[in-house]
């Protein structure tokens, strides 16, 4: 395995990759692929575009690996590269999130919606039955109408792969600002949903 045992830290793998060990970088790709992909997905909205952005981000990171000094976490550094690539892609394709994106499937064959259903079913209450498909469609549509700054923060926070600190680094905004944007995004969504006749509280 060329010194890329599972117990190696990201920094160990970075040092090996800086020495020319491509397999070590491959292990870094494996460890961070989901975080990178979802960050790109939050920005460009399309899984196919996000896959391209993720590849570009990893290739760019590999070529800039010599500039990584280890002051920050490798994932944070990698996610910053990813976000810049994703922003460039979003500008170039001049379209944003395709909210009609079909849920992807992981290796187990279980799509994202199934995962959500499985996890939520453990604590499903009578109140959850109110959340019907129509509401889901409206929420999804309204997310697309949010200002970019609020939308980006909300979706990055919803990936389940990024901490507020990492989101702050990606967006180049203070931590408190990121938290406010997420909260504000939710408030705006609920306000719009209330305007559509859904119960605010």
């Amino acid at each position: 395995m060329n010194g890329t045992e599972p117990s190696a830290t990201d920094l160990d793998l970075v040092r090996l990759a800086q020495a020319g060990n491509v397999e070590a970088f491959g292990e870094l790709v494996e460890r961070n692929r989901r975080a990178v992909f979802r960050a790109a997905l939050a920005c460009v909205g399309s899984p196919a575009e996000a896959d391209d952005v993720a590849q570009e981000a990893f290739v760019t990171a590999y070529r800039k690996l010599a500039t990584f000094r280890g002051e920050a976490q490798f994932r944070t550094w990698l996610l910053s590269i990813t976000w810049r690539k994703a922003i460039d892609r979003r500008k170039s394709i001049s379209r944003w999130l395709r909210l009609t994106v079909s849920p992807g499937r992981d290796d187990s064959g279980e799509d994202a919606f199934d995962q959500m259903e499985r996890i939520a079913s453990t604590s499903r209450s009578q109140e959850d039955t109110v959340v019907d498909d129509e509401l889901q469609q409206n929420v999804t549509r309204l997310i697309g109408t949010l200002p970019k700054k609020l939308r980006d923060a909300l979706l990055l926070a919803g990936t389940g792969e990024h901490t507020y600190e990492q989101i702050s680094q990606m967006l180049g905004a203070p931590l408190g600002t990121v938290k406010w944007r997420v909260s504000e995004a939710r408030r705006v969504l609920k306000k719009k949903l209330a305007a559509l006749g859904y119960a605010y509280e």
């Binding site: 491509v22 970088f25 491959g26 790709v29 494996e30 692929r33 989901r34 990178v36 992909f37 979802r38 997905l41 939050a42 899984p47 996000a50 896959d51 993720a54 590849q55 990893f58 290739v59 590999y62 070529r63 999130l97 909210l99 994106v101 849920p103 992807g104 499937r105 992981d106 290796d107 994202a112 919606f113 959500m116 939520a120 109140e127 959850d128 109110v130 959340v131 509401l135 889901q136 929420v139 999804t140 997310i143 979706l155 926070a157 919803g158 990936t159 389940g160 792969e161 990024h162 901490t163 507020y164 600190e165 938290k179 939710r186 969504l189 609920k190 949903l193 859904y198 119960a199 605010y200």
Partner: protein, 198 residues
């Protein structure tokens, strides 16, 4: 996920749950299989490109230098003062093959049916010496030819009989005579006094 995860908060309202669910559906998509393989596949050509970059650059630079030298050499060669040609004419610039029989190559090319094979005369600055021009009229004879309707060459009758040859014309020398011009007499101008006195 650590404790700093932004999605660990509990949202109680149905709308909060709906938002969570919608965001989850949008974001919880896994990357397509084989991302690692695709990334590594893109890294290998990149490394190869970096290795080939310096030699490629060197080859490119060498080719550029050769091109520049060739262009400069060609220009110098073209700007050399051409030999002075007394009578520069288009005919003198026609290649010898065309000069020998101007229409022959053209006619042959046309007969072959390939216009691209028609030789095009090159314009050159090289001096092509003209061949010495001999007497194109041939040896002198006393015969005078003239066109006849019958196509038979007419012969001046006097040419066969030397006795009837035209005598040479004698021209008497002219003697210049002085030009005599009559003397012009100019009468003196007489001015009469006005009537009544001055």
């Amino acid at each position: 996920m650590n404790n700093d995860s932004p999605w660990t908060g509990s949202h109680k309202s149905p709308l909060d749950r709906a938002i969570d669910r919608a965001v989850w559906n949008l974001m919880h998509v896994d990357p397509p299989a084989g991302l690692r393989r695709r990334v590594l596949a893109r890294l290998e050509p990149g490394a190869a490109e970096r290795r080939l970059f310096a030699p490629r650059f060197a080859w490119g630079a060498a080719a550029l230098v050769i091109l520049i030298v060739a262009v400069m050499f060609t220009r110098d060669h073209r700007t050399e003062p051409a030999a002075i040609v007394p009578q520069p004419s288009v005919a003198a610039n026609v290649p010898p093959a065309l000069r020998a029989s101007p229409a022959a190559p053209l006619k042959a090319a046309v007969e072959r049916g390939s216009p691209s094979q028609i030789p095009s005369p090159r314009i050159t600055r090289e001096a092509i010496p003209m061949p010495p021009v001999a007497n194109v009229f041939g040896a002198r004879t006393g015969n005078v030819s003239a066109a006849a309707e019958s196509g038979v060459e007419a012969v001046w009758p006097g040419a066969e009989n030397p006795s009837s040859a035209v005598a040479p014309l004698l021209i008497a020398p002219l003697t210049p005579a002085p030009i005599e011009t009559p003397a012009i007499v100019i009468p003196p101008l007489v001015i009469a006094p006005p009537k009544g006195g001055l």
